[in-house]
């Protein structure tokens, strides 16, 4: 597989804050690659460096074989970038926004219409409406069309689904997967852990570091401990009891279940259920559970915290 993005020893500081703490990785051509992590993880700093909008303090990066500092003009021609905040011109119409972005890149809407037909076609009936008057989902579609109209070699999308409702988020990821199927390399960042499953590979990020990087399935498979899910009539009391349970390593709310990791020798029927019964919790259902990305993220977070504390 050809390399689309290469990053080496990349560091970025803002004053005393280390925003990017020595990143090293490569992304293959044609991958749909997700950077997943909370605000402050470094996702936007990384994307700004890759899009030549920010200079690294140390290390470097190359996009489609071109250095993001030395060859910045060439890099800018081949990337399609959708920044986190809505970046369209609010007082231009839908159609005007699209032609503006085409013109800036020395092309026309007609020349590349094929590329955006699927996505732009959905908002074309409103082509004369001002971009500022569009709903969130429509703005997203227009911004994506504008990022695509100059036929970029790579698409870089910074939190395109943040603050967007669950239904619109699904539709957006369907669009990205179709673009990937057509061969486009896509880098996308998100704070939503559940979106990891839509990516070919993901990097889990926190505090300027990559905690783990692999396919979602491989990350889930690397979860180091047995994981259980539990449910009871009184979830609040169950949560309290599990926090006090001596063998508990971690207990987290997961929607309608609680997820528990415990020390290796813990046998639920022998150790856990009698303990809970003794506390009056006699309707607890416990079952082994397949870890998801969010389980893995929290586990990596606590491992990382422990290493960090040990180094201190």
């Amino acid at each position: 597989m050809k390399t689309a993005v290469r990053v080496w020893e990349l560091e970025k500081r803002y004053g005393s804050t280390l925003a990017l703490d020595g990143l090293d990785f490569s992304i293959g051509s044609g991958e749909l690659f997700g950077f997943i992590g909370p605000d402050g993880a470094g996702k936007t700093s990384l994307f700004r460096i890759l899009t030549t909008l920010l200079l690294p303090d140390r290390g470097g990066a190359a996009v489609l074989g071109m250095d993001v500092v030395r060859d910045l003009r060439e890099v800018r021609k081949v990337i399609g970038y959708m920044p986190g905040r809505f970046s369209l011109y609010q007082d231009l119409s839908v159609k005007e926004n699209l032609s503006f972005f085409a013109t800036v890149f020395g092309t026309t809407v007609a020349e590349n219409y094929e590329l955006v037909r699927d996505i732009y076609g959905q908002i074309e009936p409103y082509r004369d409406r001002l971009a500022g008057k569009l709903s969130g989902g429509m703005k997203q579609k227009l911004a994506l069309s504008c990022a695509l109209i100059h036929r970029p070699g790579i698409l870089i999308l910074d939190e395109p689904t943040t603050g967007v409702d669950a239904v619109s988020r699904r539709e957006f990821w369907d669009m990205l997967q179709r673009l990937r199927d057509e061969g486009l390399t896509i880098l996308v960042s998100t704070p939503y852990m559940d979106e990891a499953s839509r990516c070919d590979r993901v990097a889990l990020m926190q505090s300027g570091r990559i905690l783990g990087m692999d396919s979602p399935a491989a990350i889930a498979a690397s979860f180091p401990k047995p994981l259980y899910k539990l449910r009871a009539g009184d979830m609040y009391r169950l949560y309290g009891a599990l926090r006090e349970f001596p063998a508990t390593a971690s207990v987290y709310r997961f929607g309608q279940d609680l997820h528990l990791t415990a020390g290796q020798g813990m046998i639920p029927d022998q150790d856990l259920l009698p303990y809970l019964q003794a506390q009056g919790l006699d309707d607890v259902v416990v079952a082994p559970c397949t870890p998801g990305i969010e389980d893995c993220f929290m586990e990596l977070l606590s491992e990382n915290q422990n290493q960090h504390d040990a180094r201190r």
Partner: protein, 253 residues
């Protein structure tokens, strides 16, 4: 207890809000009990923000009756504002004030006296394990701490109800769960929690959930009831099934 403090802390009857010919809230009816955690969900543009602004006394209903903590939001919005707390995703903390300065500022606005402020400030810093950061500027704090502090300030004057508008956006999954610990604590003390979120796992943590579609309440009940009624495995499926029915209203020509 506050005047009018009965079991139903929020009463909404036939609430209608129009902007010109656009009906943002179309005959809403619901009640929220004291100490309840009430989830308020809906797609972007479904009418949630309009309803919350009315419940907070920031906007008047076109018609209908809305009582919050026993006060009519149409005629006594100032009384309503005094009995509620509010926290939005863009929190209301002052970045260039310190932690204690922010606390003093908010407590002062709500008319708390100096002795009470000192006592509650100490308790708050202890509970959030923020004693070491008392004199740090807000701008220097991690996002997760800011969110916890913003929530604690929203309930610092011990309001009857706290409104949380997407309080957990952007934080890591551990911090997000710690935030819900704070919500449960507040509810167990009798504070009613009215919360919006885009995280469907958080919908499961609510006592009852209300889902708005196209300005109307499409579903209202406990997560268990809604899942059973919709034949859905989880709240994500409930939400998607309901919200898919929506006509994107801003897209109507």
């Amino acid at each position: 207890m506050m005047p009018g403090d009965k079991r139903d802390i929020i009463v909404v009857e036939d609430l209608v809000k129009r902007f010109g010919s656009f009906v943002a809230n179309d005959h809403l009816n619901f009640r929220v009990s004291r100490g309840e955690i009430f989830g308020f969900l809906g797609a972007n543009g479904a009418g949630k923000t309009t309803a919350i602004r009315i419940l907070c006394g920031l906007s008047k209903p076109t018609s209908g009756k809305v009582l919050v903590a026993g006060q009519d939001v149409g005629t006594r919005p100032e009384k309503v504002k005094r009995s509620i707390g509010y926290m939005s995703q863009r929190f209301s903390l002052y970045e260039d004030l310190t932690v204690t300065e922010n606390i003093r500022f908010y407590a002062g606005i709500y008319g708390l006296g100096p002795a009470l402020i000192r006592e509650r400030t100490a308790a708050l810093l202890h509970r959030l394990e923020l004693e070491h950061a008392a004199d740090k500027l807000i701008s220097s704090l991690p996002l997760g701490w800011k969110q916890k502090l913003a929530f604690s300030l929203a309930i610092f004057h011990e309001p009857a109800i706290v409104f949380l508008d997407e309080p957990t956006g952007g934080v890591d999954p551990v911090t997000r769960r710690q935030f819900w610990d704070l919500i449960y604590d507040a509810a167990s003390k009798g504070i009613t929690v009215f919360v919006t979120t885009h995280y469907m796992d958080e919908a499961e943590y609510c006592d009852r959930v209300c889902i708005m579609v196209d300005g109307r309440i499409e579903a209202l009940g406990s997560p268990e009831e809604l899942k059973a009624r919709m034949g859905a495995a989880d709240m994500d499926e409930v939400f998607v099934k309901l919200a898919r029915k929506a006509i994107p209203r801003t897209e109507q020509v």
